[in-house]
């Protein structure tokens, strides 16, 4: 039976699965990535594709088996996928299984499942399945000052206890920004993705947000993010201002 160069990566939210995969891609060629469980909110896939332009991302469709022979493929399993009930093609039986786990935890289902345990970032492993809220924001452009306010409120508990939050947001000056937070991390990060500025109309590239936690006020989060979004007239005005500013050097 043919075997495939395939690695499955699992772990709790915020442990560093995507970060570990990102590290494996440095200097390599012919790599592919698939995120199982992200559905339409392809934050990790978009982040990796921006970081490693030559990466092949299978994010919205399942490739043919033959495609797996062409690439060293990493499949990231979202934390809410039940490892026990995960059924893979028999051809994948020999695949490499990596669990990225916070330091110090033992005897979990990930230990039983994985071939290799990688020590990742400190994060709390929830006893109960946490609440997961996602929203696709593609086409929306947010005012940067508003975004930083709502993000600060979000990660500091204004809308419920947040264990993990990440998002890709389009902002007024055309940049695409990646925001990343894990509870307990003293320095939540935000970085600009290496993508061209979008300064003509509404962006049709992906943006979206994912929040994991407890007692999340999903309605309030959604409404507050909506309040940060520019209408067509305001967006056109600011895009013109930024274009003129950039043209003037």
């Amino acid at each position: 039976m043919q075997t495939f160069p395939l690695t499955l990566v699992a772990g709790p939210p915020g442990a560093g699965k995507t970060t570990w995969i990102r590290q494996q891609l440095d200097g390599a060629e012919r790599f592919a990535y698939l995120n199982l469980g992200a559905d339409a909110v392809r934050i990790d896939a978009t982040y990796l594709a921006a970081e490693v332009p030559e990466l092949v991302v299978w994010s919205s469709w399942l490739p043919e088996l033959a495609d797996f022979t062409k690439y060293q493929t990493y499949i990231e399993l979202d934390f809410h996928i039940d490892l026990g009930s995960l059924v893979l093609p028999t051809e994948f039986a020999d695949c490499h299984r990596v669990a990225v786990l916070p330091p110090g935890i033992r005897q979990t289902e990930w230990h039983d499942w994985a071939d290799v345990i990688v020590t990742g970032t400190e994060t709390r492993v929830p006893l109960q399945p946490p609440q997961l809220w996602r929203s696709l924001l593609t086409g929306q452009v947010l005012d940067f000052a508003s975004l930083t306010t709502v993000w600060d409120e979000l990660i500091n508990g204004a809308y419920g206890h947040v264990q993990r939050a990440k998002g890709i947001f389009e902002v007024t000056d055309g940049r695409s920004l990646y925001f990343d937070f894990v509870a307990g991390d003293p320095e939540p990060t935000s970085t600009e993705l290496d993508l061209p500025r979008w300064l003509e109309g509404r962006p049709n590239r992906f943006s979206g947000v994912e929040v994991v936690g407890e007692q999340l006020d999903e309605t309030a989060i959604a409404q507050t993010l909506k309040d940060c979004c520019l209408d067509d007239r305001t967006l056109a005005y600011y895009q013109q201002q930024v274009r003129e500013f950039l043209e003037d050097g």
């Binding site: 000052a145 508003s146 409120e153 507050t224």
Partner: protein, 274 residues
């Protein structure tokens, strides 16, 4: 004579009550209020009634003006879309909540008050909407005080208390007649500005100094000593009332952390001319 100066109560009755009790303990002869009695907080009518019943001389704040005249702040006076939307929500709620007599009281408030060499305004002598921040350019700051003719200018609006001394101010003015570009006829005059002082009273009801405590100032006219007072109050009562009365619950969350309801403007000296 010892006076107390309070500002920016923003409908926070619990905070006002506690500050007045603290003032009582210091045996002041006069209290002045720098406005913004309403806006964001849950008890605009009770705050106005308290100020009115105690006959506290009060000047009009920007929120007081907006409730009387209609929302007049242009979008550029908000630092973000979110702050603007929250500001509008608070304005609409307050506008619905206040009684006619509250509105009438706010309408007749003067823009400034004088007491000897002391002047009292909400934002600056030029506008209730202008922020006089502690790092405002010294020339501009000096101009604001000189415009009043007073030696000490009490202001609020920024919600951050401070005392700023403007001493040994040297101003040089060069006037050119412009007869010839080769040899301009220039006259130079030098002025020495006397010691002036700006005192910001902070905020009773919406502190912006990173703690939940209300702030105000005590001033001793004999010794010219300024004391910034910080007063603990039961902010959780105000937070509960915010939610109970239908204001956005994010206001309560922010108040409980010593954060302003909406951040100050990017360009704090900007004054809307619309």
């Amino acid at each position: 004579m010892k006076i107390a100066v309070i500002s920016c109560i923003h409908g926070n009755y619990e905070a006002l009550n506690e500050v007045l009790l603290d003032i009582d303990r210091h045996q002041v002869e006069q209290i002045y209020c720098l406005g913004d009695l309403v806006g964001y907080g849950p008890y605009p009518n009770a705050v106005v009634e308290m100020i009115r019943s105690l006959d506290i001389p009060t000047c009009q704040g920007c929120w007081d003006e907006d409730v009387v005249e209609g929302l007049n702040a242009c979008e550029c006076s908000y630092p973000s879309l979110l702050a603007e939307k929250r500001g509008r929500l608070a304005h609409e709620w307050t506008n619905q909540e206040i009684h006619p007599e509250t509105r009438s009281f706010l309408a007749q408030l003067p823009l400034s008050l004088r007491d000897g060499n002391l002047c009292f305004v909400h934002g600056s002598p030029h506008s209730q909407h202008e922020y006089m921040l502690p790092d405002m350019h010294a020339f501009t700051a000096m101009e604001r005080v000189l415009a009043t003719g007073a030696d000490t200018l009490f202001c609020g609006h920024t919600h951050i208390p401070y005392v700023r001394q403007l001493e040994s101010g040297q101003l040089q003015v060069r006037v050119s007649s412009g007869q010839s570009s080769q040899r301009p006829n220039q006259q130079t005059s030098n002025f020495s500005a006397p010691l002036k002082r700006i005192v910001n009273a902070g905020s009773v009801g919406e502190p912006r100094h990173g703690r939940t405590n209300a702030t105000y100032v005590l001033y001793d006219a004999e010794t010219e000593q300024v004391t910034l007072r910080e007063v603990e109050y039961d902010y959780q009562k105000t937070c509960a009332a915010i939610v109970e009365k239908g204001l956005p619950s994010i206001f309560a969350w922010r108040l409980a952390r010593g954060l302003e309801f909406a951040e100050r403007a990017d360009d704090p000296t900007h004054v809307c001319e619309r």
